[in-house]
């Protein structure tokens, strides 16, 4: 067992190394020095409390969203629609929080989070039911839903709900704003990192237990491993696929908490900045293990904020390429280690 964990960690490290190497090649190709670029990133980001705080701030929604996607991955469900799900949930979350602003926090907060969660779950229900009833891959339906949801939000926001000449909702009551870490630790001064990061960490631990230590987790992993066999074992596969998709999609909405309650106080068009797609790479790099997701989200948070720090040298869009390289290197390294282990057994 320990050896297995060690092999997993080594293969992840190799993937990270491959990514850094390929990224360096890319940087050299456009005529820059990778040592300078990475050096700049490290000193800008990790050299001070603000940079570290911002990395944590960027990692928070990636952890939450990554867990939602990983949960689906465990059941072999490819949820490419996190971007739409999380926007739908966060949008409604901000509206409910705004409307309930005057109620006591212990009512208004859970109700708005729950509302967001439920809306995202419903969005997750659609691809799940189509998959079960029609056998249509969730990949297509979730992508189509992304377009539909973003258009709908755009419509409701601009036609009815946005503050004049902006693309954002009304600000929620101050009582619903989460405390910033800078309020407790002076080092984070100026950074937007807030209590949501603690919530995200707790969520990761909680889902680690759900996935690996409960019957529910065992069953969804069984479905992911072999759906037909699971059915014969008496697992209610259809019900579990729907449940997993709904919980996974619901979780993505909570990523909105970091921005809405923790930072700006409102929902804004484009706030998600592709978190829903980055989180796919986050989950894959962590092999869908919630505890691993914490680390891989930190890496992506670092790259995200670091990318901004070196934007004058290299367009920050390079991070999209880096994400793709992460995905492709982790899946190929996984396969190569599998092959290597099989050979060793012989």
């Amino acid at each position: 067992m320990n050896r297995r964990i060690a092999i997993n960690i080594i293969s992840v490290l190799i993937s990270v190394l491959v990514t850094f190497l390929l990224t360096s090649v890319l940087i050299i190709l456009i005529g820059k020095n990778p040592f300078n670029i990475f050096g700049m990133m490290f000193s800008e980001v990790l050299g001070n409390g603000y940079g570290i705080g911002q990395t944590l701030f960027k990692a928070t929604p990636l952890i939450i969203c990554g867990i939602g996607i990983a949960l689906c991955f465990h059941a072999s469900l490819f949820n490419i629609g996190a971007e739409g799900q999380l926007n739908a949930g966060a949008f409604v979350m901000s509206l409910v929080a705004w409307k309930l602003g005057t109620l006591p926090v212990f009512i208004a907060m859970p109700v708005s989070l729950l509302a967001g969660f439920m809306v995202s779950s419903i969005v997750g229900y659609i691809p799940a039911i189509i998959k079960i009833k029609k056998g249509v891959s969730e990949v297509i339906t979730t992508i189509m839903l992304n377009f539909v949801i973003l258009a709908l939000i755009n419509y409701f926001l601009i036609e009815f709900l946005a503050v004049k000449s902006t693309v954002r909702t009304e600000k929620i009551n101050d009582s619903l704003m989460l405390p910033k870490l800078a309020d407790y630790f002076n080092t984070f001064q100026g950074s937007s990192v807030n209590i949501s990061v603690v919530f995200a960490l707790a969520l990761a631990v909680f889902f680690y237990f759900i996935i690996y230590k409960t019957k529910f987790g065992y069953q969804i992993r069984a479905i992911g491993f072999n759906e037909t066999a699971s059915k014969y074992l008496g697992i209610k596969t259809n019900l579990l696929i729907i449940l997993t998709f709904m919980i996974g999609a619901g979780l993505t909405s909570l990523a909105g908490m970091n921005f809405i309650m923790g930072y700006k106080g409102y929902y804004e068009l484009g706030f998600s900045n592709n978190i829903g797609f980055t989180a796919i790479a986050v989950a894959l790099l962590a092999k869908n293990n919630p505890l691993g997701i914490i680390l891989s989200a930190l890496l992506f948070g670092f790259l995200d904020f670091g990318g901004l720090a070196v934007n004058t040298e290299i367009p920050k869009e390079i991070m999209l390429v880096v994400q793709a390289i992460v995905i492709l290197s982790i899946i190929s390294v996984n396969k190569l280690t599998e092959k290597y282990l099989k050979k060793e057994k012989k």
């Binding site: 056998g135 189509m144 367009p315 190569l336």
Partner: protein
């Protein structure tokens, strides 16, 4: 002109037939790949990268045919890379597709900023010269004068013939239906999967090229999910070239409708009109009868 009369105009029909092109190229691309047993959800990415490369190389060489050639070449090289992952390394095909979509969309975005110093589009370029004589036919000139449109209509019959009337097609399909049986009869299954993936990359790239040539520029987001809608068309067309033809005509019809609505109903919220193609895709997937039946060994590594 109100919406109703514009739908029954000849211009609307011509528009539908033009818009059919990228859908059919994308859907046939996906079909050739899936018939050989490889699920390629990166059609969108191939279209994006081809559209971008076409713009880039056309500008670089000052000639759209050079752009066409190098863009297709890039598409084929990328499909060889995709084959390396899915056929050689046998990684999960869906995840590889997600990675390739991200890679090609991300690289195009990155290169636009790097080369054109713009966050959204390339410079404008001279597009294809139209086919002499054919382009002068009244009313239908902009259909019959367009190389790629003509090819995509011919493809309906070519694809059907190749897949169902030739030895090559039989072997390709055996790789997707029952690779072990094919192998026992002496078919080099993995070679045929490679053919499937390369044809897929070629056709999807051509779809992207058409979209860029139609606009005389590449702009970020211009493919707008057509690669995924094309896959939906393949599913609705039950992996048969002739049925896929009708599915693509349907999606082209709705896109033409979307454009007409924007013109004839200026008060109707544009967001809701733009949402239509995606919503309709979902509704059609829900509404069409019976469970889908892909090639038996589709997506299974061999």
């Amino acid at each position: 002109m109100d919406l109703f009369s514009s739908i029954f105009s000849f211009a609307f029909l011509a528009q539908t037939l033009r818009l059919f092109t990228p859908y059919y190229l994308g859907a046939s691309a996906a079909n050739f790949s899936e018939r050989s047993g490889i699920v390629n959800i990166a059609i969108e990415g191939f279209m994006i990268s081809a559209a971008f490369c076409f713009a880039l190389f056309s500008l670089l060489f000052g000639n759209p045919f050079a752009g066409l050639f190098f863009s297709l070449l890039t598409g084929i090289i990328l499909s060889l890379l995709f084959a390396l992952f899915t056929i050689k390394l046998k990684v999960n095909q869906i995840i590889a597709g997600v990675g390739f979509n991200l890679l090609m969309a991300g690289a195009s975005k990155f290169l636009i900023v790097l080369i054109f110093k713009s966050s959204s589009n390339t410079s404008r370029f001279e597009s294809f010269y139209q086919i002499p004589l054919l382009k002068d036919i009244p009313l239908v000139g902009n259909i019959t004068g367009d190389y790629i449109i003509l090819f995509s209509f011919a493809l309906v019959f070519i694809a059907n013939h190749i897949l169902f009337k030739t030895k090559f097609g039989l072997r390709l399909r055996s790789a997707g239906e029952n690779p072990a049986a094919g192998e026992s009869l002496g078919v080099n299954v993995r070679l045929y999967k490679l053919y499937g993936v390369i044809i897929c990359g070629f056709l999807a790239s051509l779809g992207g090229i058409w979209l860029a040539s139609n606009q005389n520029t590449y702009s970020d987001g211009m493919i707008a999910g057509r690669g995924f809608i094309a896959i939906a068309a393949m599913i609705i067309g039950k992996w048969k070239p002739l049925n896929i033809f009708f599915a693509c005509i349907m999606f082209a019809f709705f896109e033409a409708l979307e454009i007409s609505m924007q013109v004839s109903m200026p008060d109707f919220p544009t967001q809701l009109i733009q949402m239509l193609p995606y919503l309709i895709t979902i509704l059609v997937l829900i509404g069409f009868i019976g469970k889908t039946k892909p090639p038996a060994a589709d997506g299974v590594s061999y």
